[in-house]
């Protein structure tokens, strides 16, 4: 009940943010120097045909009306027509490429968690040990890791030197997808690692000296029960928020990573659209990515509230 109320409250906060996002994306169009109608028709177009197209595109109306019609179209899933591929609707282009990107984000996140949790636990379990020292060095070295470069290095090591995994494309069928997603997802996970390890290790250290851990130990529970049953969940609460913030960053880096692996997701489509100066597609993908981040933030907040009963009151 309390949780349901929290969910409703949280959903309401989405409205202004989504309005703001669409407005920013709409303004991208206005930032571009030159007249979009001229861009479309070419420099030799007659003033009459340019004016005609202006009317068609609604560019003769005041700014707020243009925004409202943009918003109205966007809500109906109409994101315009691609400049590059004449006649192809932007939404079919974008949504057709969404699957690989979602795969990448989900599997990448999975890898990140699977690598982070044991490393942070081992490290926090014996602070000051050699293992701890090694784990603590990861964030220092990792902060400057360009994600796409990690991808290039993985291709070099695991794709070309040791030919065990495919290095480009999305493959055919489920197993094909799985094989093809491993390297890109690992790339994204490795680029995430520094911040995640740092935050989870810090929260683990804090949690492990708390009284309720002594209580759990005094109960005579096994070491693993204390670590996983009591410490990890509490430390995880703090790290979920970091995970959410980080995920926004991760989603952004899919553009370059998909380019590295020629993975035909939304990010790769954005890269192609940039090369083709295809404004509606760039606009639409920017919007899609922002909506993804908003959804991820929503999910992490809901997860946070589910993990930590104290949040629901706030």
């Amino acid at each position: 009940m309390q949780y349901a109320l929290y969910v409703v409250r949280r959903l309401l906060t989405l409205v202004p943010v989504l309005l703001g996002i669409t407005f920013v994306v709409f303004l991208l169009l206005k930032l571009i120097p030159g007249d979009p109608a001229v861009t479309l028709l070419g420099v030799h177009a007659t003033p009459a045909s340019v004016a005609e197209l202006h009317k068609q595109m609604g560019l003769d109306k005041p700014l707020y009306q243009q925004y409202l019609s943009f918003l109205g179209h966007a809500l109906q899933g109409n994101l315009g027509v691609s400049y590059q591929y004449r006649g192809v609707s932007v939404s079919s282009l974008v949504f057709g490429n969404l699957a690989p990107t979602l795969w990448l984000i989900v599997v990448g996140m999975f890898f990140a968690i699977v690598i982070t949790v044991p490393l942070a636990m081992i490290s926090a379990n014996k602070p000051g040990s050699a293992t701890d020292g090694a784990v603590r060095a990861i964030p220092l070295i990792g902060i400057g890791l360009p994600s796409f470069w990690v991808g290039v290095m993985l291709i070099l090591l695991l794709g070309l030197k040791v030919k065990i995994l495919p290095v480009s494309g999305f493959g055919e069928g489920f197993t094909g997808h799985v094989q093809h997603i491993i390297l890109p997802a690992l790339t994204i996970a490795l680029a995430q690692l520094p911040i995640l390890i740092r935050s989870l290790r810090a929260s683990m250290l804090e949690v492990l000296v708390s009284d309720y851990i002594v209580t759990a130990k005094a109960k005579g529970l096994s070491r693993s029960r204390v670590m996983f049953g009591h410490a990890l969940r509490n430390a995880g609460v703090a790290s979920v928020t970091v995970l959410g913030v980080n995920l926004a960053y991760l989603i952004g880096s899919t553009v370059a990573v998909e380019k590295v692996f020629a993975l035909n997701g939304v990010g790769f489509e954005m890269y192609n659209a940039i090369l083709g100066r295809d404004l509606p597609v760039v606009q639409a993908i920017t919007l899609i990515f922002a909506v993804l981040v908003v959804m991820v933030n929503l999910l992490t907040d809901l997860a946070h509230a589910a993990l930590d009963p104290r949040v629901r009151l706030g």
Binding site: V17, G20, W149, M153, L156, G252, V255, L275
Partner: protein, 287 residues
């Protein structure tokens, strides 16, 4: 009732972990490393006589360690070492400069939000919510795309996105600081507001922002490198680490070092700045 003073609070290991008087090795190591990198970039012409743009197809694809070309040459016979050093000039300059504007704008807005609150705070914080809803790279890429390729667009795009972090950090600090006694005393003394803000509050709240700026430099260097890799950054043939990685990726099997070396350079810059940031945190905690 007969009572003794309240008992010792629960023993906390962290209270005894603090070491006073220990030299801040982290900070010095970071500063030294960063200084070396900057010096290498500034004095690039002294360190290498090769022209980073000079093509020489007869000397193309030399392996590292070849005479006259310490790090080898690329497909067009350009000296990799000199391209790395001259590339550092571009990446470091853009990286550091792209942090200055957001630091200033974000701190001022954060200061005003925290101090003033009310409608100003509400509007700015809504704006912050909207900007952080975009993935950093996607918004920067979209803005650079709209504004046109080049370093000027990169400055503008990173500034338009980056101020948000500083605004949040400084705002949070001001909210705490303005209730502290020194700030209350300054307010009670009737000093003009700008003076309280600049002389009393700013010095106390800016430290966190500066620590963040260190890792933000890494972030903006990563942004330039990524943009250049995608062909939106520094225009070729100017030497730049990101475009060097993109070019090197084409000959990954034959010349693995072409894509590897520039990436390692970014990692080392990141390490230096991370050490400085950690060192600064230690330094402040000590006080």
């Amino acid at each position: 009732m007969t009572t003794l003073p309240a008992p010792l609070p629960t023993f906390d290991a962290s209270t005894i972990r603090k070491r006073s008087g220990e030299r801040n090795i982290t900070l010095y190591a970071g500063l030294t490393l960063f200084a070396l990198i900057v010096l290498a970039a500034v004095f690039a012409p002294l360190l290498t006589s090769a022209d980073p743009l000079q093509q020489n197809l007869l000397q193309a694809r030399l392996a590292p360690g070849s005479p006259g070309h310490l790090l080898g040459t690329d497909d067009l016979g350009r000296d990799v070492l000199s391209r790395i050093l001259y590339g550092a000039r571009v990446d470091l300059r853009v990286g550091v400069l792209a942090v200055v504007t957001p630091l200033v704008i974000g701190s001022i807005l954060g200061l005003l939000c925290g101090w003033w609150g009310r409608w100003f705070d509400t509007i700015v914080m809504r704006l912050v919510d909207i900007v952080v809803a975009f993935p950093f790279y996607v918004l920067v890429i979209a803005l650079v795309f709209a504004l046109g390729q080049g370093t000027k667009s990169i400055y503008i795009a990173i500034s338009a996105v980056g101020w948000v972090a500083y605004c949040r950090i400084v705002r949070g600090q001001v909210l705490v600081a303005k209730e502290q006694e020194y700030a209350l005393a300054a307010r009670a003394s009737g000093l003009p507001t700008w003076r309280i803000l600049l002389r009393h509050l700013l010095p106390n709240v800016i430290l966190q922002a500066i620590v963040y700026a260190m890792s933000d430099i890494v972030l903006s260097i990563l942004a330039i490198v990524t943009l250049s890799y995608l062909g939106l950054g520094v225009a070729p043939p100017s030497p730049e680490w990101g475009s060097m990685i993109a070019e090197g990726q084409n000959s990954l099997l034959t010349q693995w070092y072409l894509a590897t070396i520039p990436g390692l350079c970014v990692v080392v810059v990141g390490l230096a700045l991370a050490l400085i940031a950690d060192g600064l945190v230690n330094q402040f905690n000590k006080r």
